[in-house]
Assembly symmetry: C2
């Protein structure tokens, strides 16, 4: 950490990367032209995060993306400009307004948190209501905000331990009478965490809204501010008392979408319009001061205020998700059994199939008492294991079909069920009992699928339906 003071012109760089910068007289926040063995790059030298390796120098390109240049491939660096570094967000006292709802914002990390940091793409160490207000003053029109950092990690590192921690933190806030909760989260696994909270925190009396951003706030196209406003508004004002994901709707900035925590999936690696409700309508659209319910059937089941909160923060991590591929060999499954796994969710082909070569391993899993469930890797649609001989054979080996539960959701639910009981019959009952939309009876008529699968088409569809 000796190199990581705020005053350090080479903030965060160590070893060879620090040497190369020093050699060419380049500082953090220099705009440089870099000649490398792979070609020439221009961009802004970013500070490095605490955990960074010492081999790369990171440039922010004009496109907004960061690139890591291997220091040993750099022939020369030339300073062509300079940007003033501002390590501190302007902080203002978040105004208290009597009568406005109280909202708690939990931070876990991810790109949304970099809204509050500074151009680095790194995770911020903390964020206060005052910093938030300095950045997004609209929040004070919506609510009285309190903030608390639970974690500071990218969401690919979120897992069962953090799911339990977040669930417990939410329950504690609800106990203290909060009016709504926002959870800032990286987008990679936001849908996994949303599913976990949907099972662990049933029947909350207030909205619990997960939010993230696909592009950090220093980029012109950032979705961070709008998503945060939408999520805070939903938490403070909506009647949707359940776990929802609030992210960008269309490719324009018109509105956000609220997705049920059990039916949502990230569908594009870089687009802002990436979260989509699968196999049903989203719950609602959200604009700056307006929520439009798209799925009243769901909504009515979870009204604000009716609390019967059941906190059940259990998880057994001896569960795996096996995504079938042609030519799969039984050793993939046998290893899980040998390593003591207690649950397997298959993502099979078609209506829920795997090849015959793995049948003996599935049989072995059954003999070892492993709970096995089948989902479909087509993502859309239902398992239907009675249609073909293959499905009937696999059911005969003890694999239970699980309707239209998404593979990721089934994985989370099975770990949650295994955390509660050893009884396979009890686990089956938990798995097959719909919770918060994880299984739906049938898909909506074709028209409603229009905006399910793809990405920008939602824009046009919404123009028709929503306006």
């Amino acid at each position: 950490m000796s190199t990581e003071t705020a005053q350090d012109d080479l903030r965060g760089y160590r070893g060879i990367s620090r040497e190369v910068l020093a050699r060419d007289g380049i500082r953090v926040w220099s705009e440089v032209r870099a000649k490398t063995k792979q070609g020439q790059f221009e961009g802004l030298v970013l500070p490095r995060s605490e955990t960074a390796d010492e081999l790369h120098i990171v440039l922010k390109l004009d496109s907004g993306y960061n690139i890591g240049l291997a220091a040993d491939q750099i022939e020369s660096l030339e300073e062509v400009g300079r940007r003033e570094a501002q390590y501190k967000i302007p902080e203002k006292k978040f105004p208290y307004s009597a009568g406005k709802p109280r909202v708690k914002l939990f931070g876990t990390g991810g790109t949304i948190a970099s809204r509050l940091d500074y151009r680095t793409g790194a995770v911020i160490p903390a964020f206060s209501p005052g910093e938030l207000y300095g950045s997004v003053p609209e929040l004070a029109d919506i609510c009285n905000l309190e903030t608390e950092k639970l974690y500071g990690i990218f969401s690919e590192n979120m897992g069962p331990e953090q799911w339990i921690g977040v669930a417990q933190a939410c329950a504690a806030e609800i106990e203290k009478g909060i009016d709504g909760i926002v959870i800032g989260h990286g987008t990679d696994t936001m849908h996994h965490t949303a599913a976990a909270l949907s099972f662990m925190l049933q029947n909350p009396p207030v909205p619990i809204v997960m939010v993230g951003s696909q592009r950090s706030s220093d980029r012109p196209s950032s979705d961070a501010t709008l998503n945060l406003i939408h999520a805070t508004y939903t938490a403070a004002r909506s009647d949707i008392a359940e776990i929802v994901v609030c992210m960008f709707g269309p490719t324009s900035d018109d509105y956000g979408l609220l997705h049920r925590g059990t039916r949502v999936r990230k569908m594009h690696s870089s687009y802002r319009s990436t979260f989509r409700t699968i196999g049903d309508r989203p719950l609602a659209t959200v604009e700056r001061e307006k929520i439009t319910i798209l799925n009243p059937g769901y909504h009515q089941r979870c009204p604000r205020g009716e609390s019967n909160l059941a906190l059940n923060a259990a998880f057994d991590d001896r569960v795996s998700l096996v995504y079938y591929y042609p030519g799969m060999k039984p050793d993939v499954i046998e290893s899980l059994v040998d390593n003591g796994y207690r649950g397997i969710v298959f993502a099979g082909t078609g209506l829920g199939h795997v090849n015959r070569a793995v049948y003996p391993a599935i049989e072995k899993a059954r003999e070892a008492g492993v709970a096995s469930y089948m989902t479909v890797q087509t993502i859309w649609g239902y398992t239907q294991m009675y249609v073909y001989e293959t499905g009937r054979e696999i059911m005969g080996l003890g694999v239970e079909p699980i309707a239209n539960m998404l593979p990721e959701v089934a994985y989370v639910k099975l770990g949650w069920a295994l955390g509660q009981t050893d009884d396979l019959g009890e686990i089956k009952k938990i798995m097959q009992t719909p919770i918060n939309g994880d299984i739906t009876e049938r898909e909506p008529p074709d028209g409603y699928l229009v905006y399910q699968g793809g990405l920008p088409e939602i824009e046009e569809f919404m123009r028709r339906v929503h306006r």
Copy 2:
């Protein structure tokens, strides 16, 4: 097989299922009312396939789906009607027309084959041009058809061995001067086989068209006939000399879509409109006598007649596809290394991420000389591993990003590359060199994504673009 004569009223049934049928005086092709411990069902008793278990009696319900009733759960069966069984398709001599193109139809199995069988959902043992002509006389307007059964299996059991067999059979036909090839295939893994053939059979001089059906021909909504006509027309008449998948386009019967073998994925478990080109436009639409190119850039690269056929039917099956989930533990990857796997394709979250807990296992894989590649489980979008620290760390462990190659396609390609060489540098070169669209430089403008993701929305889009 003693119970399996065509005259047998209990065709295919053995053991307890045969006893229950005999007890209540029920024959195959009886319409029955079945009282079971799980409730009452009405349907048509179907004959059983050769490989069926003896525990179930299979009914075809009015919905068109089959259901397997456990014989020991059946309280009574009552015959309420009878349908005449026709074991033989009306067979007519396929007329030879001088001047029409010669097309070869290879059968591998799947629901499309049951077009040619009879209401059982079972795989047919053989099909002749005469049987095909009896069923789909339009085929004779298109071409002179020859048929050959290569396999008779559901596509979940297709794998590397069959991919190689099909590739070799196609090459042999091309050598003999065929004008086009159609491959009937189950839909579960049609996209995997299409990818394998795209790598194994490069630069064919004629179209190689994969076709299947989502619903067997005894169902009113069957797509079998139309798909077969479209595929045969494409093989006989189109200039698209590459491996394509020909399946239903919209929810109406208006036209089929032709998808590149490397960019197509099954996206719904039961819809007919299930195959979708991901991250690009489909190649073309196909109607009964008309092909409309949607993606001229692709098309021009593979014109009919320019043969430089490279048959390269290699595959090393010591390759696996690891679909990341939060909480993944290193043992999943360690087991692959211990079991001698030589290649791993990861389907990571977001831009191509896994959690830190598995880093040591990835390191171990590298030390063992395992070739590791990263794809994205968002399905749409590119791996971009320079954007976040996580991506750079994972690349530092030897995992190579592979742009927008679909996880399934990357799995097939890595097995194919490993089948050719042990040299990791050579493998990397093979993986990163685009072949037949498996990597595309960038996604088309937003408008073209409209019909990429979802399902029925394609209908509306096509109405705009295509008409």
